[in-house]
Symmetry: C2
Subunit: 343 residues, 2 copies
DNA sequence: TTGAAAGCGCTAACAC
DNA sequence: GTGTTAGCGCTTTCAA
């Protein structure tokens, strides 16, 4: 623990009040006094004790992120990590701390209640919304500013969110494949209890419907997004009597597995079959498929994290404003092994 | 903000002190009084304000994790996420918060200083140690309990760490390949500015040396661990006049790329070439390579996170004890597409 | 422009 | 066993 305000004040022969005011930019301080105080603070390596400050102001200057982990699988969604990295940047720029609560799904509600009741945070970011997510009404009841990364279909009352336009992204991707002449298009999707996956399927169905194609349930696979899942789905799809000629993959890692199934079957991407990958982060894309021709829709999760954090901070500063929302569009990328073009 | 101690006390007709004592398990409280207090607390949904508590006790009951991000690439090492998930479990079990500081490499030192000076945390976890990592002496100077996930070669004074036995893991894997009769063994390693990657190379070299084989620099590739890197390295290695017959991959994602290069070249894993993968997390392994025969060394990062957090908490509770260290051994897994056996 | 005093919600001597 | 008092480090009236 370093030097305190009081010590700093007595060193300077000033009152704690004046020092506080000088340091916090209150206008009524003599310019020379302020300068003197600032210099002394720097020299003494003074940092205000954040908890004392919080206690006095009633604000914690911290934002809570609760990330649910299932006990069934050990892997944390890498998307969380990138999003949190982006959010963290915004927080530290604004002088806020980020407190992370990692909890088993079962204890999630208690985690939110705790965070709020103990006054640990001024606002909360909600991750991985499911359909009709119960956390949204809960947080509203608790009266704490919050922001959802994604959306929850079935929640009617307005709330603040930032989402990627998953539906549009998958609609466009499907349309693209339809334009290439494909009629049997497979969807290798994430877990459809998650809101984002459900929206992706809707986008896919939108495009099919518009083209007058009846969706075939056999062409739609859904599971947690892993390489093995991509592979298994690919195999199963190729084993169909009437296999698809085009594939839509819900993440890069799934696409890796899918590609394996396709190439193992002797198919060449971009010639025998077409593949479009969607990934939430552009960074996963470069040369990712490394074939003469592939297509991808993507966005930057880190950027999303930054933006979402800024919106949440705005909410924290003025809790009475109406909900903030932002729908981010994805980019459609046409890539080859040497570089890529965007459309 | 909920009900306060004072309010709760006056409701009960007791002094705040008694209520505090009852709730915090002090022995000198009448059993019936305690019961009454506990019931009332539950009924009123009382949660102590953590900042007031911290201020009064001088402890923050929070642990800081600083995760460095480079501005050059957007992807956060997924290992961080799994480790943090494990650590988070231990913290919440112990009633501690986790504060995450995501900072660009350049500002890392300032981040540590801030965390300590502002009294935000009681202890710090250091991620991704590099060779001769300067953070270790810094934290020692700051006098804050800390724990390193990994080790830093070249730091002589003792410090607390938890690490996976990377050297032994890669040594065993190499020996295994040597036993199979391979003499040209490629190493597709992570960035060797990172301590773990350097140790992995040492293990590889250990085994070669013991077998009397002169290491060939052309067989050692090092870069950030991505699928494209695995692919590029694989291609380059196969293009050699005297290509390797066995490969050691430093992570599952690298192995995916490597496998692609190998199969594209018409080689069959487990027959024409042997591949061993090391990954820090077992979870990434199941069916991961999905070939008739492959080998993997792995550990559980989540479990490492749990353990490391517990060790750090022990350090926080008794800062005067000698440094705590733990070297976790990896498991050698022989896998096939249907299941796996461990040795 | 500066200072004195009270208080944020809790804990911890020290009395009773 | 329980209460009184002071204080953690800061902000914020209010007065000067």
């Amino acid at each position: 623990m370093g030097v305190t305000l009081k010590e700093l004040a007595s060193t300077l022969g000033l009152s704690p009040t004046t020092v506080s005011r000088a340091l916090n930019g209150y206008p009524e301080v003599n310019a020379r006094t302020r300068q003197r105080v600032q210099d002394a603070a720097r020299a003494a390596n003074y940092h205000p004790n954040i908890r004392a400050k919080s206690l006095a102001t009633g604000q914690s200057r911290a934002i809570g992120h609760v990330i649910p982990i299932s006990t069934s699988h050990e892997i944390v969604n890498p998307i969380f990590a990138d999003f949190i990295a982006g959010a963290g940047e915004s927080y530290s720029r604004a002088g806020y701390d980020m407190v992370l609560s990692v909890v088993p799904d079962a204890e999630e509600e208690a985690a939110y209640r705790n965070l709020v009741a103990r006054g640990s945070v001024d606002g909360i970011m909600v991750h991985g919304p499911r359909l009709q997510d119960s956390r949204i009404p809960l947080l509203r009841d608790l009266g704490v500013p919050f922001m959802v990364h994604g959306r929850s279909s079935g929640v009617s009352a307005p709330y603040s969110w930032l989402d990627i336009n998953n539906r549009r992204s998958f609609r466009r991707a499907t349309e693209f494949l339809l334009d290439l002449g494909h009629t049997r298009i497979a969807l290798v999707n994430g877990l459809e209890t998650m809101d984002f996956a459900m929206r992706r399927r809707l986008g896919y169905l939108d495009a099919l419907q518009e083209a007058g194609i009846t969706p075939d349930p056999a062409l739609m696979h859904t599971a947690e997004m892993t390489e093995p899942f991509g592979h298994d789905a690919g195999r199963a799809l190729l084993a169909l009597a009437d296999p698809p000629s085009a594939f839509l993959a819900s993440s890069m890692i799934v696409a890796y597995g899918l590609r394996r199934a396709l190439t193992d079957a002797g198919l060449r991407l971009g010639r025998d079959v077409s593949v479009i990958v969607h990934d939430d982060d552009l960074s996963y894309m470069p040369n990712g498929l490394d074939v003469p021709q592939f297509t991808a829709t993507c966005s930057s999760v880190r950027e999303a994290g930054r933006k979402a954090a800024e919106m949440l901070l705005a909410l924290v500063r003025d809790p009475d404003q109406p909900p903030l929302t932002l729908l981010m569009e994805t980019q459609l990328v046409l890539g080859d092994s040497t570089g890529r073009n965007r459309t």
